[in-house]
């Protein structure tokens, strides 16, 4: 008895229902729209929110790219790609430029996205105020009353304790000057890519049953004080030991032979691309 699944796993009614939540999210940038999140064949917390968005918007001619913490071949990316491919048969790619839909866990690719692309981000904790207030009932009210004193106070307390803001990934942002939004645990390095983005950004939290969005060309501002401006992860003079790129988000690794710390592009497809360019140039020059 082999289960015969519908195109893109969901029945059309379910997809329409999710798309309706997406439309509302686009209409109210940064606002978390509740939706009837389904149980998926992959685990809650493993990208079911992003997956439900991807499955409900994907068409037969779309090309899909999935990344997990920057890597196309990391466990979660492979599993999600496999599932979407098995239920839709759409073309898959590693190359950012070729993709129509990019589902990503916690990175925005290094290559700038275009207006023809949609990036779907997986979100573990959609509520940016959860750290200061545990109750959903209360945080919902705080958003509606534009009461963001708690999150400002959190940053202020960090300055008092550490002499600077000490946020890690998932640094909260103001969207369209109204809602404070969790950008998902992307590094602070990627926050600026959301501002006035050409591509539509959709964010899905399956377990928490929320969908939200940043429409193209929307202002996205990272929360910071005038005298303590927003800062991103610093790699200083470090560069990728494979391709030599410097202005990218780097993974910190240890060289097994020398025991030294080395750095490598976190965006694996970007790194491959750079390596191929070098290779091509070398080949061309050797022919010449």
């Amino acid at each position: 008895m082999k289960a015969n699944t519908h195109f893109a796993f969901f029945d059309e009614g379910s997809k329409k229902e999710i798309r309706r939540a997406i439309m509302k999210a686009v209409a109210i940038p940064g606002y978390q729209v509740p939706f009837a999140s389904r149980e998926m064949p992959i685990a809650r917390g493993w990208g079911t929110g992003g997956l439900q968005i991807t499955l409900s918007i994907i068409g037969k001619n779309d090309v899909l790219k999935v990344i997990d913490q920057g890597a196309d071949e990391s466990v979660n990316a492979v599993s999600i790609k496999k599932m979407v491919h098995e239920t839709t048969g759409v073309e898959l790619t590693d190359r950012t430029e070729e993709a129509d839909i990019i589902q990503s866990r916690h990175r925005i690719p290094e290559v700038a996205l275009t207006k023809d692309q949609i990036i779907v981000l997986q979100v573990p904790t959609p509520e940016p105020l959860r750290g200061v207030e545990a109750s959903e009932y209360v945080t919902k009210r705080m958003h509606s009353e534009d009461d963001y004193s708690g999150v400002w106070l959190m940053l202020f307390e960090q300055i008092m304790k550490y002499g600077k803001t000490a946020t890690t990934a998932d640094h909260p942002v103001y969207v369209n000057h109204r809602y404070v939004m969790a950008p998902s645990p992307i590094p602070r390095f990627d926050n600026s890519k959301m501002h006035q983005s050409d591509a539509l950004i959709l964010l899905g939290a399956g377990r928490e049953k929320k969908i939200y969005a940043v429409p193209p060309y929307t202002d996205v501002k990272s929360l910071a004080f005038e005298d303590y401006p927003f800062t991103v992860e610093a790699f200083e003079d470090k560069q990728c030991h494979l391709c030599g790129s410097a202005d990218v988000f780097l993974d910190e690794l240890i060289d097994h032979h020398t025991g030294e710390t080395i750095h490598q592009c976190n965006d694996t497809s970007y790194c491959m691309e750079q390596l191929n360019k070098v290779e091509k140039a070398e080949v061309e020059s050797s022919y010449a």
Binding site: Q69, T231, Q264
Partner: protein, 371 residues
């Protein structure tokens, strides 16, 4: 190449899935679905209850596929459940129509209809039975035959006997308030996400599909001290109830046109909880309220714990976490809690790198790159 290969993840994952299959097959024994169905009653009941999908056959299949892992079996069933079309809602089940297999009250010795012990582990001594290591089919058959013969001597009732609810008896005595039946259609929590404050129909749905261990633990916490509910079990009943659906096309509905689609086995609990209420003269009076618990199959511990939590969440004006509906309802689901805990095994290279950076910057005591 460096520590993290850019390519190769796909093959590694395929190999891992293969290895998993090997683990299931390597003992070279096959457990049949029918063996699981006829010998793993407790497990099947628990899987059906937590996955909120009533199908002993599919539950047995999920147990087989999951190699007996409860969270995995429940996960498989839930994922399957969300692919099933739901063309009908069943009619309200009246638990008085239950064909009772077991029914006890801890409140009254002499309940109308009597106590029916039925099948339970409650009165057994938990000693490992080493004889089961070499169980013989012939001996079992002999035992069954003897058992049937013993039963023959017991008188038959002419008609099917239904048991009245213990609480009805107390209502007649005036000890419990009479409430009007609330026929508001329930909100389907699988079609609409929870919004707080919740309605009781939503709460009962979340509680009944809660992870057995979690429901039990939270109920226990409330009983032991972190809550204000100290119930007496008015009635625990286990048995089968019939399920009907309305005729889909007829404009006028009558009970005669309804279709019987099968029966389900459930455990139902009504707990009596004394509470203080103010009367008209502003004096405190003791009154009873009912905590309600119900779940698929026979799982009395879960149903009783659910009845405690139901009562807790009816009284949210307490500081105990067991009276906080968000605390209880948002953390009790097996698929959600196991999913989020297990996601910690996914690579967190980026987020960890970001944390490292933050700590280093703080240690350096300088502001990093501005942007």
């Amino acid at each position: 190449m460096g520590y993290v290969p850019v390519k190769g993840g796909t093959q590694a994952i395929e190999a891992s899935i293969k290895r998993l299959k090997y683990e299931r097959l390597k003992g070279q024994e096959i457990i049949e679905i029918k063996t699981i169905m006829s010998t793993m009653r407790g497990m099947i009941d628990q899987v059906m209850s937590e996955s909120s999908l009533y199908s002993p056959y599919l539950a047995a299949l999920s147990i087989k596929q999951a190699e007996g892992s409860m969270e995995e079996a429940v996960f498989l069933m839930r994922a399957h459940r969300s692919t099933l079309p739901r063309p009908y809602y069943s009619k309200t089940v009246e638990p008085e129509t239950m064909l009772v297999e077991r029914r006890v009250s801890a409140s009254f010795k002499d309940i109308p209809g009597g106590q029916v012990l039925g099948a339970t582990y409650d009165y057994t001594h938990r000693l490992l039975d080493l004889n089961l290591i070499e169980e013989k089919l012939e001996e079992n058959q002999q035992w069954l035959q003897n058992y049937q013969e013993e039963l023959r001597d017991i008188e038959d009732f002419e008609e099917v006997k239904y048991f009245p609810k213990v609480v009805d008896y107390l209502r007649e005595e005036g000890l419990f308030e009479e409430y009007e039946v609330n026929n508001t259609p329930p909100i389907d929590i699988t079609k609409q996400s929870l919004q707080f404050p919740t309605t009781r129909s939503e709460r009962l749905q979340v509680l009944t599909r809660g992870q057995t261990g979690t429901v039990t633990s939270l109920g226990y916490a409330s009983l032991r001290g972190y809550g204000q509910v100290h119930p007496t079990v008015g009635e625990v009943r286990v048995g089968t109830v019939p399920i009907y659906v309305e005729h889909p096309n007829k404009m006028e509905h009558s009970a005669e046109d309804e279709f019987y689609i099968g029966e389900i086995k459930v455990t139902e609990v009504e707990s009596f909880v004394p509470i203080n209420v103010k009367n008209e003269n502003n004096e405190y009076e003791l009154e009873f309220e009912i905590g309600y618990g119900i779940c698929y199959g026979q799982n009395e511990t879960k149903a009783i714990a659910m009845s405690i939590l139901d009562q807790c969440l009816e009284h949210t004006d307490s500081d105990f976490p067991t009276h906080d509906e968000e605390f209880v309802l948002l953390h009790i689901d097996s698929v959600e809690s196991t999913g989020f805990i297990s996601h910690l095994k996914l690579p967190h290279y980026v987020t960890f790198q970001s944390k490292l950076d933050s700590i280093r910057q703080v240690k350096k005591g300088v502001q990093g790159n501005e942007s």
